[in-house]
């Protein structure tokens, strides 16, 4: 019997689609190129025991994949760099069952209503393809609420004065505030900002059969050993419990096959290198905003906008050294955030005018420290002072920092295409990323960085430093030109006009009747928020539209 759908990718997008489709009675196969470390291999309706508090395994040794030696990407800042200037890791999200959900620290804010109508509200920006989304916050609200219940989100309704209206409270109250965040939120409030408990997909109370988070601190870039995190474990265990889903891990989709306007199925490469064709009535592509356009290009899908308008969030990172210990290793990595730098104020409007821009927007600001000792150790010089620096620990024990997820505007030149010669271990062309920040992002960085440093000084910082990720890119390529935000968006942008958009308002490719993109590839603009909740919400909505 032919499958109702093959779903490519098991991250938050593919898993959200799978839950809806199997719940409606469809039979699906979820194809994941990475390994299964999320679900018990003997009973896929239960979580596994593979995750651990192990910095070597998760940070140094690519446990969640992809390993850049066998699945590299390439990078350049622009065509003047030639074919590429870097081969290896480029903004990789885990390649594993559960995808990016497994390593995220679980901040899952909704976008604001205005994020979906940037062009209408604020107008164009020179050089950028600013556009309204073909969906509104009101269209998405019921699906936001459903996904929040499904994965389990802790938060406090009313705490963020800039948030859109909610149809109900968060499924759980917020978890324990990190000590540093208690101090940084107080300092931010004294300066007139509006910090609030980050909407977080980590259980603050037992939820849906999974335990409450016990604050171990190994959250960001780690899988959760006790499965208190709202990574796709809940979506996938429920999907598998329907008995209508098959999970094909360590299986790579090398091509979607088409006949006329319809996809007929996908070509698979299995773990042992053997190949086969898997027929399906529908194809749901949820491989992320880099691998999804790569697969469409490998499948000879053609559209002038395909792969373009890649956005990653230009991050402004502001660190401060505190005269007291910040205890960043205890708790959920990030417990508080503020949105003031997205909304802007008279100062930011003046900064935009002074720079000759019509407007400028920053991004969500995360309040956090640095927790991990191997990472810290590599930041100090070797030699006789190393032990002393590690014990005094200006980074791990005394740092507090803000990371602003600066909204990237969509530029046609920032894109994903196929590298002309670099291959993965299976022999297929890898994704090449061409990216550099635009003037808007740099102006936002220059304006908001010093303002964030002022909050750290108010908190007691003895020194502050402002950096960005990637680097500012005004001196040609340097190793820090490669983005590390892990927030990839755009590349298969949605819209109503088939000439300027690749997918329709439900993520369906304009050119094919039965191919739906269910990940952050469809984003029109990047907002200043992590993409996870919005991409899962769009995926759930797209799946409801299919059935």
């Amino acid at each position: 019997m032919t499958l109702d759908a093959v779903i490519i990718g098991s991250g938050p997008g593919g898993s959200a689609a799978a839950e809806v489709l199997t719940g409606a009675g469809w039979t699906v196969a979820i194809v994941e190129k990475g390994r299964n470390h999320l679900l018990d291999p003997d009973d896929l309706t239960r979580p596994s025991a593979d995750y651990s508090n192990d910095e070597i395994k998760f940070h140094s040794r690519h446990f969640l994949g992809p390993d850049p030696l066998v699945e590299p990407r390439t990078f350049r800042t622009g065509e003047e760099d030639g074919d590429r200037v870097h081969v290896g890791e480029v903004n990789s999200v885990p390649s594993t069952v559960g995808g990016g959900g497994t390593h995220a620290d679980g901040k899952v804010p909704r976008f604001m209503p205005g994020d979906f109508r940037l062009l209408s509200d604020l107008g164009p920006q020179p050089g950028a393809a600013v556009a309204d989304w073909p969906v509104t916050y009101d269209d998405l609200e019921p699906f936001y609420a459903a996904v929040e219940r499904s994965i389990g989100v802790a938060g406090l309704e009313g705490a963020n004065p800039f948030a859109g209206p909610r149809s109900g409270p968060f499924p759980m109250p917020p978890g324990a505030a990190m000590f540093g965040a208690v101090r940084s939120t107080a300092a931010a409030e004294r300066l007139g900002y509006h910090p609030y408990p980050a909407p977080t997909a980590a259980n603050s109370v037992p939820y849906d059969g999974r335990p409450a988070c016990n604050n171990c601190g190994f959250c960001s870039f780690f899988g959760c050993p006790i499965h208190a995190k709202g990574d796709p474990v809940a979506l996938l265990t429920r999907t598998m419990a329907t008995g209508r889903a098959e999970l094909l891990a360590e299986t790579f989709v090398s091509r979607i096959r088409f006949e006329g306007r319809r996809a007929t199925g996908v070509d698979l490469v299995e773990a042992d290198g053997s190949t086969r064709f898997l027929p399906a009535r529908h194809v749901v592509v949820a491989a992320g905003a880099i691998e999804t356009p790569r697969l469409l290009l490998l499948s000879d899908v053609e559209h002038p906008a395909l792969g373009r308008y890649l956005m990653v969030h230009f991050q402004t990172i502001v660190a401060g050294g505190m005269p007291y210990r910040t205890y960043a290793e205890r708790g959920r990595s990030v417990t508080h955030v503020h949105d003031d730098m997205i909304v802007g104020d008279e100062l930011s409007r003046t900064a935009a005018r002074d720079a000759g821009l019509p407007w400028v927007r920053g991004g969500l600001v995360e309040h956090a420290g640095a927790a991990m000792p191997i990472m810290e150790a590599k930041h100090y010089p070797p030699g006789a002072a190393h032990n002393r620096l590690m014990a005094e620990s200006p980074i791990r024990k005394r740092l507090w920092a803000f990371t602003m997820q600066g909204e990237d505007l969509p530029y046609a030149g920032n894109r994903v295409d196929l590298d002309p010669s670099v291959r993965d271990a299976r022999g297929f062309p890898v994704a090449r990323i061409t990216y550099r920040p635009g003037r808007h992002e740099l102006v936002a960085h220059e304006h908001f960085g010093p303002r964030l440093a002022e909050i750290l000084k108010e908190m007691g910082a003895q020194w502050t430093a402002v950096t960005s990720s990637p680097g500012r890119g005004n001196a040609g390529f340097t190793p820090d030109s490669v983005p590390e935000s892990r927030h990839n968006m755009g590349t298969v942008r949605m819209g109503t006009d088939p000439a300027t958009s690749v997918s329709d308002p439900f993520g369906r490719l304009h050119a094919y009747d039965n191919v739906v993109v269910a990940d952050s590839s469809v984003f029109v603009t990047s907002a200043g928020y992590g993409p996870t909740l919005t991409l899962a919400t769009l995926a759930a909505r797209a799946a409801h539209h299919l059935v």
Binding site: A49, Y51, S52, D54, I56, N214, N215, P373, R388, R396
Partner: protein, 187 residues
């Protein structure tokens, strides 16, 4: 007893580790922490099965739960290809050279330790530093492995008895205990 390096190579590696992160203050330094064993264990990861790449989860037993870190995860075919390329190099095999030749960690260490000279252990500290600095890329490689061997989980061969964690007041892997809400918000 080293598992992959020769005794002579291991002695040179030990001396080089001692220059990279020496004993000082209350810290044990790289040698007392077992960093040479960590590095030798990585170079010889495939001498055991499953290979010594990823310790299992979910707990080490240090804060309760099973002592699962003592065992290692089996590798998938793609994992094994990646780690054999990283450790052994591509060795001219077509299936490892899809993007050209790769020099592995075994060859990098073996050639660097040979360059340091058979009398490296008895050379003075300044002479040792000068010889290490003359090997392109080696001080950086060794330092990164020192950091991992000092401050990673003891099951990988370094951080002997957790002494390096104790010296910096880092609790290590705290599952399944974690921290109480009060320890998080009002430590």
């Amino acid at each position: 007893m080293p598992t992959w390096l020769t005794e002579a190579e291991f002695a040179v590696l030990t001396a080089a580790c001692d220059r990279t992160v020496p004993v000082s203050g209350d810290g044990p330094g790289a040698v007392a922490s077992g960093v040479p064993d960590y590095i030798d264990g990585l170079l010889g990861a495939f001498t055991v099965d499953p290979p010594r790449i990823w310790a299992r989860g979910p707990t080490s037993g240090r804060f309760g739960g099973e002592e699962a870190f003592r065992d290692f995860h089996p590798l998938s075919p793609l994992d094994e290809l990646a780690w054999r390329i990283r450790i052994e190099g591509s060795q001219g095999r077509p299936e490892r050279e899809f993007n050209g030749p790769v020099v592995g960690l075994q060859e990098r260490y073996r050639s660097a330790l040979a360059s340091l000279g058979p009398d490296f252990c008895s050379a003075g500290p300044d002479e040792q530093d000068a010889r290490m600095a003359a090997v392109d890329g080696f001080p950086e490689l060794l330092f990164h492995h020192c950091c991992e061997g000092l401050y990673g989980a003891p099951e990988y061969g370094g951080n002997r008895d957790g002494a390096a964690w104790a010296a910096i007041d880092f609790a290590g892997d705290v599952q399944p205990r974690g921290w109480t809400d009060a320890q998080v918000s009002e430590p």
